[in-house]
């Protein structure tokens, strides 16, 4: 941080109360890293998703979950037991001075504590409340239990992903990993919250948002729904490439180093593309017969698509490291990429140019760690990780005493009574 006076983030000045489990914590991170003051309210003892690994040095501990660390940057943390009268009172005080409440409780839970939107709005007409839940606040599946895998299945992601029979006979459909059902829900929830915030700058009023993870996932399979609605087609799964109504040529090729390259060739084979492809392959002496003028005839290209893709392109990629194919092809304008492991990105020069990797201090450990950075560079109001994830109740005194005015002895009593 060399800036003497760093610009504030675009959401500076907003206070968000986050009461979120693994389904919604990413939304709080999105808001916090862009400058909002996100106060994470956890039950005494901490959120259960602090128990999700991997853990620092593989030592399980609620303060050492790397998953929790990643999804809870730029937040402050307080503990509050909403099942107690004191907890509800303090929450009411916080809600009265906050801009947004993000909550992921089962539908009806906050209402049963008289902390529903209607009640909270009485003291804060500008309040925006977003309930992000697996299925929304209404409907026959409202109270169903879920998980990332379940959402990927019902949302359609699983039905679209898997293997060609030739690659893995009898393979199951595959749910892509990484917890992306939660990401899908959180992206849409962020969008809805921001729309409500923009509207509030004009109208001065808050509102209630009922967001559904299932619906977010159901919206996130590109053209699959359109294929069905307009053509009645149900798509088939294919290895490492798009679902399709019938088989399409492969786009994933094994490189010399045993990793893969995604090379989008099929569907683009016109004479110009073939000329450029021949030049690329020829620069490694691998053009085969592709420089033959006959390949400037679209009909000849069409008749030899399999030869071009399955022989020439496949052999070319098999002769080189994936990274070399990737950069050589991109330098010549081909939309190809190496199928990388996440860790391979640490050395990516382009990411370094963008200042992507962030060093985050963990003062309690006396160590700094590298975190992934921003999707987008805001040139007038930068994204930043303002602090590592909060420790359990780390900001109880700061928020409940310094900001809400409790005395230190009251704080002690609340701790003894398991309110915080």
């Amino acid at each position: 941080m060399s800036d003497a006076q760093p610009l504030p983030g675009p959401l500076t000045g907003l206070r968000i109360l986050e009461l979120a489990d693994e389904t919604g914590q990413f939304c709080g991170k999105l808001l916090g890293d862009l400058g909002a003051d996100v106060v994470k309210i956890e039950p005494p003892g901490g959120e259960p998703c602090r128990h999700v690994g991997p853990f620092l040095d593989d030592i399980p501990d609620p303060e050492r979950s790397l998953s929790f660390w990643h999804y809870n940057t730029s937040k402050r943390g307080v503990t509050l037991n909403l099942q107690t009268a004191d907890g509800r009172r303090l929450f009411g005080h916080l809600a009265a001075t906050s801009d947004v409440i993000l909550e992921t409780f089962p539908p009806g839970f906050l209402g049963s504590l008289r902390l529903n939107y209607e009640a909270l709005r009485e003291k804060n007409a500008r309040l925006i409340m977003c309930a992000l839940t697996p299925f929304g606040q209404t409907g026959p599946w409202r109270d169903y239990a879920s998980s990332d895998l379940l959402h990927m299945a019902a949302g359609g992601e699983v039905a679209s992903s898997g293997y060609d029979e030739a690659d893995v006979p009898n393979a199951p459909p595959i749910a892509p990993g990484g917890g992306n059902a939660w990401h899908m829900g959180c992206h849409f929830a962020y969008m809805a919250i921001m729309a409500a915030l923009v509207y509030r700058t004009v109208a001065g009023r808050g509102q209630y948002i009922d967001a559904s993870i299932h619906e977010a996932c159901a919206l996130t399979t590109e053209a699959a729904v359109a294929n069905y609605i307009y053509r009645g087609e149900v798509l088939r799964r294919q290895t490492g490439r798009h679902h399709a109504p019938g088989p399409t040529p492969r786009t994933q090729f094994r490189a010399k180093d045993g990793t893969y390259v995604c090379a989008l060739v099929a569907g683009r084979l016109n004479p110009k593309y073939v000329r450029e492809l021949a030049d690329l392959l020829d620069s490694y002496g691998m053009a085969g017969d592709l420089k033959d003028p006959k390949y400037q005839e679209p009909a000849v290209i069409a008749a030899n698509t399999s030869h071009i893709i399955d022989d020439l392109v496949a052999n070319f990629i098999a002769s080189l490291r994936a990274e070399e194919v990737y950069h050589s092809a991109q330098a010549r304008g081909f939309t190809w990429g190496a199928v990388r492991t996440p860790e391979a990105l640490i050395d990516d020069a382009h990411l370094h140019d963008r200042g992507f990797w962030k060093e985050v201090e963990h003062p309690e450990l006396g160590r700094n760690f590298i975190y992934p950075g921003e999707a987008a560079i805001y040139n007038g109001s930068p994204w930043r990780i303002s602090r590592r994830a909060p420790l359990i109740g780390e900001h109880n005194a700061e928020i409940l005493c310094d900001e809400l005015g409790l005395s230190r002895s009251e704080l002690s009593i609340l701790a003894e009574n398991r309110v915080i």
Binding site: G53, G178, N180, A224, C262, L345, L351, F369, A375
Partner: protein
């Protein structure tokens, strides 16, 4: 009942095409912003080629079903921005707009004379969102992506598949959908910032880079613990752990079993369900739902470590049962007992059979002048004060040219006709659609 819209009076100049950019502005439109899509038929890749035109219609610029769903809530101005006159017109439009959004390669708008610096001269507080493959900053800014390439390079593809097999990846352009999300998120964030500070800005979004943080826990396992994802048993398919390999978290949540996809009756292509037990109690409930067969009482399945160790056998037993039940019935029986289970759903399943999506009115029919009446996807959130809505079908190409050029920008009808004659609003050698003839009368 009258409901105000969240983005009432916000105007977006939308240069975007194909999927990611249009998916971004679709949502700004759903919130009530006026989306003016700048199009040119000679290089329109969102409309053509089309693989989603109904079988009974001719494939043309106005009959792509996927284009329709991706571009509801927008207006279309056909305009040759690569001509001096076209550029002048678009500058007049930008001067009365709030947001400029595009998803071209990194230097395209700059080459047209519409760099952020130039945009600021036209509209000082403009919010400019560029959505390019690698961003406008960084040495590979000129690299290009489609969703699958962004997914490959960022590590997302690698996280999907069975161990010791090629990556299964994502069977669609997840990062066109998600890149679109980020485009809308950036635009709304920039707009909020403008409304509260009076200042616009350039938001330099990269499709590839925006994928990277989605691998957060996997990345942190490497940067903190030094453990990479290239290891035995990873990725573990639909499981949290692959039997016989080191017990390491797989970044999807807690490590538990059962956690898999299972075939269901009658065994057709998409007859699968997923079942997950997060605790011994949930496992005991599943055993009850299955009728408490004797194998479920075996001590080796009583603990989570045991179930993980004997996962092959466990999954075989569960699938022997699941194949006797339909996926929706299985879901109801499991969920009624407090067991996590849902069907694997195709698009047809979601549109036709999913009772929850039906209840939430996820797919409501809408009339389109060329395509007719078809269901359109709705928003996954309900805002009490300013609900998102689909209020316009996708525009026919150039459908709103007259409305925008004459009505909004104040050009005369004669100037509109002249612009059609000189190739500013439509290529002179290309046949016009009947509605264009109509607007020229």
């Amino acid at each position: 009942m009258f409901r105000p819209r969240a983005l009432e009076n916000i105007r977006v100049v939308d240069f975007s095409w194909v999927r990611a950019g249009p998916w971004a502005t679709r949502w700004l439109g759903a919130f009530g912003a006026e989306i003016i899509k700048i199009e040119w038929p000679e290089n329109e890749r969102g409309r053509l080629p089309s693989t989603t035109t109904p079988q009974n219609l001719e494939v043309n610029l106005n009959t792509s079903g996927n284009f329709n769903d991706t571009n509801v809530n927008k207006k279309s101005l056909s305009l040759n921005v690569r001509s001096a006159k076209g550029l002048e017109i678009v500058k007049r439009l930008i001067a009365i707009s709030d947001i400029v959004l595009e998803n071209f390669s990194s230097r395209v708008l700059q080459k047209w004379g519409l760099s952020y610096r130039e945009l600021c001269k036209i509209k000082p507080d403009i919010v400019y969102v560029s959505m390019s493959g690698y961003g406008h900053t960084g040495r590979h800014h000129h690299y290009t992506t489609f969703g699958p390439v962004a997914q490959a390079v960022s590590g997302l593809t690698y996280l999907s598949g069975l161990p010791d097999k090629p990556p299964a990846g994502w069977g669609w352009s997840y990062m066109d959908d998600t890149g679109g999300m980020y485009g809308a998120m950036c635009a709304l964030t920039g707009l909020y910032h403008r409304n509260t500070t009076g200042r616009g800005q350039h938001i330099d979004l990269s499709q590839m880079v925006s994928s990277v943080p989605l691998n957060g826990p996997a990345l942190m396992d490497f940067t903190v613990n030094g453990r990479g994802s290239r290891r035995a048993g990873y990725p573990p398919g639909n499981r949290t752990h692959w039997p016989g390999t080191p017990l390491v978290n797989n970044y999807r949540g807690p490590t538990v079993a059962p956690h898999n996809a299972y075939r269901t009756h009658p065994g057709e292509y998409n007859d699968w369900c997923v079942i997950v037990c997060h605790s011994d109690e949930e496992w005991q409930r599943l055993a009850q739902v299955m009728g408490a067969p004797s194998w479920t009482t075996s001590p080796k399945f009583a603990t989570v470590i045991g179930r993980l160790q004997h996962q092959e056998e466990l999954d075989e037993h569960i699938e022997a049962w699941s194949m006797t039940v339909g996926k929706y019935e299985l879901t109801e029986r499991c969920q009624a007992a407090g067991v996590r289970a849902l069907p694997v759903q195709s698009a047809e399943d979601r549109v036709e059979h999913d009772p929850q999506l039906r209840h939430r009115e996820m797919y409501l029919p809408m009339e389109h002048p060329a395509l007719g009446l078809h269901k359109v996807q709705n928003a996954p959130f309900k805002l009490s004060g300013t609900p998102a809505s689909n209020h316009l079908p996708s525009p026919l190409i150039g459908q709103h040219t007259r409305e925008i050029v004459e009505g909004l920008l104040g050009y005369t009808h004669e100037e509109l006709r002249a612009g059609f004659a000189d190739g500013t609003f439509w290529p002179t050698k290309r046949a016009r659609f009947p509605y264009m003839e109509e607007m020229l009368r």
